[in-house]
Structure formats: C-alpha cells, structure tokens
Symmetry: none
Subunit: 537 residues, 2 copies
C-alpha cells in the first residue's frame, strides 16, 4: 500500500466527496453496493480528488463496497477514503476492531470523526476531555503507522469552539501533531452562517497553523456559502456531496461549490475539461440514486437557464448574457426559452444533426417536431433520457409514417401467486412480421420480463439480428399527479447489443402497457440500426 499523499498530482486543494457516506444519510436514499460503485465511477469521471466510500466494519454493505472496489474500481483521478471513528474510550488503538476494519478496507486514506465539542464528549461519548484527546492522538498515530493518510473530521466544531474555545483548539492541535494531514472543521448541526464560519476558520488557522478543511451541512440554507467562506479564510479542503444529498436538509452541494471555485474564483480544482461534464454527471448520479434530478439546482438544473419573463426573452435575443451569469455550456447545460418556439426549433435542429439528419432547411418540419415533442412531454414522455425513441419520432416526421418491422395484433400477460406457493409469470404475443402471423409465449420473473421473452421468441427467427439484443436496465416512474395505483406510468428501458447501448421510453396508465411501448421501440430501433429496410407487414 503506497503512501496516499504522493499519488495525487496537485494536492494543494482538495475536492473531497462524501456522497457515498454522508450523502447516503439523506432520507429516501438506499444504495446497493452496485449503486455505490457506479456513483464512484461518475465522481471519478468528474475529477474529484477524494471519494469517501463509507464506514467499513460498521456497515456490512460498506465492507463489501471496499472489498469489491479493490478489484472493480479503476480510479483515474480520485483516491478512495474509508470513514470511521476514533478508538473506543479506554481501549488500545492497535486492538480496536473498528480501526482494524478501516485498515483492512485497503483504502489509502482514512477519515476519522472525532468529538470537538466538550458537551458531546461528556454526554454522547461519556468519557473525559483528556481521554478524548488521547483517543484522537492514538487513533491518528496508529493509522499513520499502518501507512494510511489521515484526515480528521472535528464533529460539531463550530458549536464546540463557541462553547469551549480552548478545548476545540486542543483537538485540532492534537490531531495535527499526531500526523493528520487535514483537520476538517464540521458544522455538523448546520446552524452556522457564513460570517461566523469565516471568522472562526481564520482564528483557528492563526492559532494552530494546521491545514484546515470545511464540512458544511445545509440547515440554514448556507452550506455552499459557508464552504466558500471557509476557503476565503484559508481552508484548502472542501467536503461536499453530489446534488447536496445528506442528512436532514443535506450537505454542501459539490456542483455549485466547484462551479464557484472554478468560474468565480478562477481556481482550477478539477482536471481540465471536467467542468463541462457537470450537468451530465449530476443527472447521472440522480438516476442511480433514483431521485428526480432537482429541476432548480444551480448550474445543472433543467430550469437553471430557463427563461420565462417577457423582458428577459427580448433581451436574450440580443445577447444571452444579459440575463445569464455564465454561459451554460461552461457546465454542460443549455439555455431554454419557455415561451418562444424559436429556441425550440434550434434544439431540435441540433439534436437532429447529432443523429445524422440535416434539417437546417426544414423550418416547417422542425416546427412539427417541436409541437409533437411538447405534446408527448405533456403526456409524460421524456426524450432527454430516451434518445432512441426520439430518433424514431424524428424519423416518423421526416418520412411521414411510423417505422415498423412488425405489427402487433395483441398481447396478454398473466401473473399469479399459486395456492401451492410460488409465483408464475407468462405472456403471449400475437403479431405480424414479414407477412407472417406469429403467436409466441414467454415466461419470466415478472410480467414485463415474460413479455420481453415472448416478443424475442416471436421475432428471433424472422430477424436473427435480435439475438444480440439484451435489456440491461429498466426504470419505472409514476408521474406527478398520481392517483394511487391507477397512475400514469413512465418506463425507460436501456438496451445493448454488445457494442452500443440506447434508451427507449413508454408512457401509459399502467406499467405493463408502458413497458410494451418501450420494448416495441427498443426492438424497432435495433432493427433500424442493423441496416434493415422495413418490409411490408
């Protein structure tokens, strides 16, 4: 295990992400190990310096995460960090099982949470102030002796500093002198405002000379500002989470913090070119976590550069920067006009170009496509995450008719839980393809799985290209304004053929019907891409 501190090219400023540890404490998030690995890849892709993966030992899922990360995660920018606590009161660091688990995780960097508020030492830890300092000293020293780079999270630091300044400073000094590389001042209860943070961070820096970090919670709605205030006062390590996920209101949001540092402060804290990936990565992480991306998030939200006001629109025609603080392209976002169809045509044209259609001279067609997209989106469709379905829609408008390689006659699914136990799922599809009527039945884990197998069975003989088709992901969302179990449902299906992946969407009043539409588009698309011309049915 190499010493973590020499690996990272520029160690002078740390962008430290704790989505997988603190972010996971947000109500409504429940991450599997696979989810965590996927998110870690996105974060590494974005270029953060550190990814705090969880609390191995304390949390079995996290122990598994670190074990799998060792072979499955190939990080190019970030270092993995294991989170844990100082040794138990009265115990020996070298024999503390929790610290041992941190070492066993294999992570090159460890963050230890330590109490910095006298009241918490007494009430929550139920030990003495002196013993707490020894816990800090011993634990840091132990981990350093095992070749780990150590950061210390001083929990409740600001409240502790205001209650007992000397003790809080003693914790900082003890940690730093024992070998912690960064002492992170945590506003754990989130009650601080930026003025107070700036003041205290400056005082602590002057009093201890330690390298300081900041961990802000968002309970007053000032986490981003508090983080920047700490940087203003000399902190060089910021702890954030993607999309601000976290306990209670949440944590300092990685994206606006990095956005401010890069764009407003002119500091290069990400690898070159990564800022423009911000919108994509923010949305990708929200998808993994299965939370609707916050539409009004700074920089990356779908509404962040959406202009409604009439005065704004006319000014923007002259110069978009009249009503935008930055060019949205800087962060991978786009401007949207909410009332004008001029911008609508422009986006369709650009998307069409992306898909290989030159529609620059096709003003009327573009107008029709814009209208259809708006109509579909009103019904619940989303083409942002379903490029293949969009291409089929575009093709339909260009050629004047819907592309069909098969025509459905009927489908039926039967799901049952039997008296003797066990569940069964069966689907039958009746369709026409290349002039032939086909009836096929499939069985599966669920009604949609059965429907997919029935459709594949029906078509595979006629269209051998379908053999490569594999359905790799499947998302269901009940759309806003749900009416109990009879809700409008949107299904997104991701397919692959070994070389490419693509997404399709279906919307209906129930999940089976919506899935049928998404599957139909997926099968149609793969046949289109295989170079087939549609035959007659």
């Amino acid at each position: 295990m190499t010493d973590g501190s020499t690996r990272h090219p520029d160690d002078s400023f740390h962008v430290f992400d704790t989505t997988l540890r603190d972010g996971a404490q947000r109500e409504g998030i429940n991450l599997t190990v696979a989810d965590k690995l996927t998110i870690a890849r996105h974060l590494d892709d974005f270029g953060v310096g550190f990814i705090e993966g969880g609390w191995p030992g304390a949390n079995p899922r996290d122990t598994e995460f670190f074990a799998r990360a060792a072979t499955e995660l190939d990080l190019r920018h970030a270092q993995l960090v294991a989170f844990g606590a100082t040794r138990r009161a009265g115990a020996e660091a070298a024999r503390d099982p929790q610290l041992a688990a941190l070492v066993d995780s294999g992570a090159p960097v460890v963050t230890l949470v330590a109490k910095a508020h006298d009241r918490h030492v007494e009430l929550a830890l139920r030990t003495t102030l002196e013993e707490n300092l020894a816990m800090v000293r011993d634990s840091v020293a132990y981990l350093r002796s095992r070749g780990r780079r150590v950061f210390i999270d001083c929990e409740h630091f600001f409240d502790g500093y205001r209650a007992n300044r000397d003790y809080a400073l003693a914790v900082v000094r003890t940690a730093y002198e024992a070998g912690a590389d960064v002492v992170v001042l945590c506003d754990t209860n989130g009650g601080m405002l930026p003025g107070g943070v700036r003041e205290i961070v400056a005082e602590v820096l002057a009093a201890t000379g330690a390298r300081l970090g900041i961990h802000a919670q968002d309970d007053t709605g000032c986490a981003i500002a508090n983080t920047l205030a700490a940087v203003d006062a000399g902190a060089s390590h910021v702890q954030c989470t993607a999309n601000g996920y976290g306990e209670r209101v949440g944590n300092a949001n990685l994206f606006p913090v990095v956005g401010a540092l890069e764009i407003k402060y002119g500091r290069s804290v990400l690898p070159l070119g990564k800022l423009a990936e911000m919108t994509r990565i923010s949305h990708a992480i929200a998808e993994v976590v299965n939370l609707t991306p916050a539409t009004h998030q700074p920089y990356v939200g779908v509404s962040a550069f959406a202009h409604k006001g009439g005065l704004h629109a006319s000014a923007i025609k002259v110069d978009p920067n009249l009503y935008q603080h930055i060019d949205p392209e800087l962060v991978g976002n786009t401007m949207r006009m909410l009332v004008s169809d001029m911008a609508g045509r422009a986006s369709i044209e650009l998307k069409g170009r992306e898909l290989g259609y030159d529609l620059s001279a096709e003003r009327e067609l573009l107008g029709r496509v814009v209208a259809r997209v708006k109509e579909q989106e009103n019904l619940g469709y989303t083409y942002e995450a379903a490029d293949a379905s969009f291409e089929l829609l575009l093709r339909e408008e260009v050629h004047g008719s819907r592309l069909r390689f098969f025509t459905l006659e009927s489908w039926r699914t039967i799901s049952e839980q039997r008296q003797e136990g066990g569940t069964g799922n069966e689907a039958t599809v009746k369709l026409w393809a290349k002039g032939e009527r086909i009836v096929a039945t499939g069985e599966g884990n669920g009604p949609v799985d059965a429907l997919d197998r029935a459709l594949r069975t029906a078509l595979e003989r006629i269209y051998p290209q379908l053999a490569k088709l594999e359905l790799v992901d499947y998302k269901v969302r009940i759309l806003e304004g749900s009416h109990g179990t009879g809700s409008r449902t949107r299904v997104l299906v991701e397919s692959a053929d070994g070389t490419a992946t693509w997404s399709t969407v279906g919307v209906a009043d129930n999940v089976i019907d919506a899935s049928w539409h998404a599957l139909e588009d997926a099968y149609t698309y793969v046949l289109l891409k295989s170079g087939l011309e549609p035959g007659q049915d």
Copy 2:
C-alpha cells in the same frame, strides 16, 4: 389614499415578498387570480411587511388581481405593492400609460424597476445614460406626487457597479433624491457571492447614504447568504419569495432568510408568534401553487429534522439538540427518526415511541428488531418511507407472530392489449377471512389497480372499515437494475382513510408480487388501526 410610510408599526426593517410577481416567473407555476389572492392571505398571515402583487397594466391577470384585492383582501400586516418600470424613454411621466396603470391599481406602494447597468441601458433600453437617469427621476417624482410610497429596484446593480461604478451610484442617488424610500440593489443574473455583496453594499451605503434593500437570485446557490451579507453591510429591506420560487434557479427563500434573522440574529422582523407558523404556511403556499413541497427545504422541509445515522439517534436519545441546530417546534416543524439499515437500538426505540410503544426496557427485543430491519433492508425493503410496514414488523417481534386479518390462498392478474384495440386489466383473489373462503375479481387501469380492487371487493363486506381506505400514491423502484426486466422490485404504497395517511412496502422479483405485499400490509394496517383484534382464519 394614505401615505404608506406611516401605516406600518415598525418600518425600520422591511420583509418584502415578491412571490406573486417574481416568484410567478418560476417554470411550472401558473397562477390564477384566485390563487394569487389566496397566497396573499397566507403571506399576510405570516406577517410580511410588503406583498408585491404583480405588474398591473402590463399583465391583465395582475390588473384584475389589484382590482379584486381592493375589496376582497383584508390585509392585517402587509401593504400591497404594485410593480412596474420607469417611464418610456423620451416620454412624459404624467402621460405614461404604464405609470398610470400603477397608480390606478390603488396599491399604496409602488416598486419601479430601473436599469443600473450602462450596457443594459444601451442594448436593452436603447437610450442614453442621461435619459435613463431622467426616466428614474421623473417616474419617482411623479408617483410621489400621486401619494405613493416608492421603492426602486436597481436591476443588474452589482454587475453594473463592477462595469461602471459611477453610473450605478448615480442611479442610486437620483432615485433616492427624487423621493424613493428604499433603493433595492438587485443581483438580477444571480452571479454574486456573499463576499462581493457585502463589500459593494457597504461601499454604496457609504457613498450615497441611501436606505438600501437587497434582491438576490439563487444562480450560485447563495441567495440566502447574499441577502444576509447585505443586511450585515447595512441593508434594511430584504426581497424574497415563498419557498424560493422564481426565474431560473429561483429567488432568495423567504423562510430561511426570516429564520436566520429571527433565530440567529435575534431580530424581530415578524409579528410575535408568527415564526411558529412558518412550516404550515410554506406547505400551504406550495399546495396553492400545486408543487410538491420541497422535502429538503431548510427549517420547513419534511426532512429538515429527520435523523438517519445510528450515532445521531443514540445522541438524540440523550438530548435532541445534540444533532439539531434549533428546536424544530420554533418554526412549527417536528423531529422524525428514520428507520433504515443505519438504525441502531436507539433509533428503533425512538421510532417505537413515535408509534406508541414503550420499548425502553426491552434491550433484547430492540436488538432483534434491529437485526430484522437490517436483514429486510438487505433484501431491498426500506422502512424509512414505510412506517406502517415497520410497525407491523415491530408488532410481530413484540407479539411473536405476524398479524393477520385474512389469509391468501392465491391471486392472479391478467393484462392484455386486445386485437380490436384497448387494454384490459383484471385480477382474481382467493382468500380466507373470518372462517369464510372468498373469491373476488376486480378490474382496473393496470394489473396492480385491478389487484387492489379485487382485494377490496373480497374484504369490504367482512370488514366495512375498509370502505374509507384509499390508495393515494404508488412508487416503484427496480433494485440492482443490471438484470434487465427480471429485477428485484420494491413498491411503496401510500394509503389514506380521510384523516391519516400511512405507507407500506413490498419487495419481490416482479412488480405485481411486490405490490401484493405492499397492499396486504396496507389493508392489514388499516384494520389494526381500526381497533380490530385478529380473528382466526
């Protein structure tokens, strides 16, 4: 019409709300006049000093709002404000129809937006810098002569100050000398950070001696902090919107701004007792606007005081303030304990207490429940969002057996898209209740809807309490999504009986089966809550 400035008891600090004007520019908001009147009542109820109602004359709906407000709105705390712009270039104030409409609205206070950025005067207004100053002077003077109190919104102020300091200051002085009571510095594009705001506000105050206000947009995620920074520098008028609604990312959120001023600054900016109404009013306004209340809003969000981490729970047992920056009751919110795989005995005990069980002396039982929760969560269950299922699990551990009011024999669902068109969904349930075997069939919008109806049909006669049961929400999550359409599925169902709502969860390899389990729990729970003792089957 009385002179507005003498009416309000304490005019030294202004809480100025612009939900109905700027807030309405949020994507997705579309307010009727009735909506606006209702929101105005809520805002007045909360005790804001000023309610900016819209742009009469320019916006017909707003003209109607002011007309109706004259007779229908009985404001006890706030004054109504009409928003508009300075006179047209080259025109006479007294003959400007837009200014006339502002007077006609009857509002005692008028806010005029004026350009304070030279580039905007030239590109957007297409007039000279001198003429723009005259427009400001004349318009303010005219409205004062008509007995109105005037505030000026200096649009793009901070960008304008940085581009051409002298001109921006000239606009401030001109407005103030012409009789504007407050000159509001607007960060219209939202690109400012708190440090810059504080500096500029302090400089403007020193240079002009005008009474200053702040209007912050949230594009950098710092609107609240920017507002407070301006107050720190001497501003005494803050413009906000309820729930931060507004153009693009949004405006400074009224509730955390007022929360900070009242609780952190110890300043009384609301009438006595109103702070405790904050949560209720925030949610009420979200209802009118038909947007789901943001769950993670500071102070008022349903997650704002929801605790997940196990360590947090054990500390909270000792003292809730160990992990909360304020007592949630101060703002009308409540603390919630979340049960998840992060839960420990303390979380279960506190959650049990919330549900009416005293488990303080039941250490062994608590340990068993913790183990079962972790085991279930590992299978994909989530109890955080399914209180009722959790209570059934707890009850099972307490009483030693699963609570049953009915025993399933079998169920079956059939979904089909028919040859002649149209889809159909039917379910048949066979079960035993109170010694009787029942077979029932239901039809619905989808297979789960049909299953729900079949179950209700089967049980309603035997258990009339079920008549009140209504399923109001339904969420599906495919777990470990990498198995395509054959994935482990989690379903959350929210039910209501007219007075309370509760949530249940089900996990299985397909959505129908998972839904069955969630429905079974929901029905069992409502029967439990109705006071029934389980009979034998």
